[in-house]
Symmetry: C2
Subunit: 313 residues, 2 copies
């Protein structure tokens, strides 16, 4: 029988994901909850953690390591960003440990990363563990990675260091337009929505033609003149936005001064990675996805590093 | 004493604007109401019109001419779009008259325009009257015009014909991001919002550097790292979006195959035209604004044409 050893938590804005590990890196359990940091009242994080981790607390686990927005200003404790370039070792050196008195085990929070592009700051919290986890699962020390989501991230890993990244508001803008804009008026309810791959690809291709704020309006006019059926409009809109991101980023690769061999690494939920995969393939970009939990894998490895170097508080 | 002669109405999605004219083209009265077509129940347009026009009905006016979304599927009567290129005369030939029996005077609705760019349809309703009105006020038969708004329009007028146009969702996307996105969390309430010209210009300049969906995220990060104060963030966001539109369109001028001498004509509310003027000047584009009501002027002239050629129903 395996004994519990470690708890890892990926605690984001809208969701919570925990894994219980044994000492050999086998998962003993995994659970998730819609308890993102926005659902937790200020000052109530310890109580929320206790409830979410529940029985795992008494399982014998010796440490809990967390990443994500739990380390933001709106989270449990604000953990300062670490600047790029950042290696796995840099992150190990910047774990913030919570006051231990009231907690049943050491609880550490991983720092987020900050970078600068075109004179603008950019930030991530949680994706850094997904990146190192995915790179480990795929045995890569250099790669370009894309992590679709509310604010998708494109990151460059070079010889084991995250050298830079860029955020896109694609997911959030899609949700706003899908639900609250004039475009929503011609679309079916989200319950009745279908995935129409042909319309998605049409959106991806259209996104290359003109400026985004103009192309978006075609998600209305193509419906108005009956050239796209109502049920295809959400997929078309998604293609416009993901195509804009994919095109811009593939064009920008030169700017990011990368010359990385091998396919683009795609990390995220299957529903989203399907779309990014189709858009990438339409652009002739090869992609690969890690098999396994990227964030949990990154956190597991970080815990190992901390334990082996005696840096657990 | 002047006698009432004509009523013109610009009836849009969210607002209603009416003017009462005498036979010499003098305005006897002007009024507006937040009674856009979305505020009118289906089948209730005649009643709404009666209420809004009120005392003007019995003033002696012999005709009412309307433009805007009142001619859309959600309006009083759906008026088919007219295809570009379209002259003032084309529009005069396509006025749709409402059934006269129940109405105290002939009531006509001007058709909207449809065009095609990059294989995508685009539409306008109401702006065509603003365009012809502005061109008349400025004595121009050829020009590029920009009409800022929820869905701003860039139109090309050549030798008296609107040859093409393009819509941008700039205004609507700004409102969605300003009110409902993560960017709103660092911003002051709209009541406490200030106009910060420097931040707006910074947004315009930033919009040239990278892809829009990525630049938008800097309206969060610049606030997070205290490089822009909270009260400047809405102006910065506005600059990013208007800058994107202005840049794209100035670049696209070549595509639109125009070679128009003279300044860009800017038509809209002072709050919006101020922003477009600043963005244009930062790009080295000269602009001019008509003095007077562009839409009402266009409608007045159209009524004159219809009357003089005996085409009032």
């Amino acid at each position: 029988m395996s004994t519990a050893h470690l708890i890892t938590v990926d605690w984001g804005t809208t969701s919570w994901r925990g894994v219980l590990w044994d000492a050999n890196g086998q998962m003993l359990g995994a659970r998730s909850a819609p308890q993102g940091i926005l659902q937790v009242a200020p000052g109530a994080f310890e109580q929320a953690w206790m409830t979410l981790v529940g029985d795992w607390i008494h399982s014998g686990a010796q440490m809990c390591l967390m990443s994500g927005m739990v380390g933001s200003r709106q989270g449990w404790v604000e953990v300062p960003y670490v600047r790029c370039p950042a290696t796995f070792e840099t992150l190990a050196a910047h774990v913030t440990w919570l006051g231990q008195d009231e907690l049943p085990m050491p609880v550490g929070i991983v720092a987020g990363l900050m970078t600068e592009q075109y004179g603008l700051p950019d930030v991530m919290r949680g994706e850094e563990m997904q990146i190192f986890g995915a790179a480990h699962l795929l045995q890569r020390r250099s790669a370009t990675l894309v992590l679709p989501g509310t604010h998708s991230k494109w990151a460059v890993l070079q010889e084991g260091a995250i050298t830079g990244f860029r955020s896109y508001m694609t997911g959030e803008v899609y949700a706003l337009l899908r639900q609250h804009s004039i475009l929503a008026r011609l679309m079916p309810s989200t319950q009745e929505e279908a995935w129409v791959e042909g319309a998605f690809v049409q959106g991806v291709r259209t996104s290359k033609e003109g400026p985004l704020m103009s192309s978006l309006f075609s998600a209305r006019t193509l419906g108005l003149v009956d050239r796209l059926p109502s049920e295809a409009l959400p997929s078309y809109l998604s293609g416009l936005l993901i195509g804009h991101e994919m095109n811009a980023q593939v064009t920008a690769e030169a700017d990011m001064q990368t010359d990385l061999k091998g396919p683009l690494i795609l990390v995220g939920s299957p529903e989203l990675t399907l779309r990014y995969r189709i858009a990438a393939e339409d652009l002739g970009v090869q992609v690969v996805e890690p098999a396994g939990h990227a964030a949990a894998t990154g956190l597991w490895r970080l815990a190992q590093t901390l334990t082996s170097t005696g840096r657990v508080r």
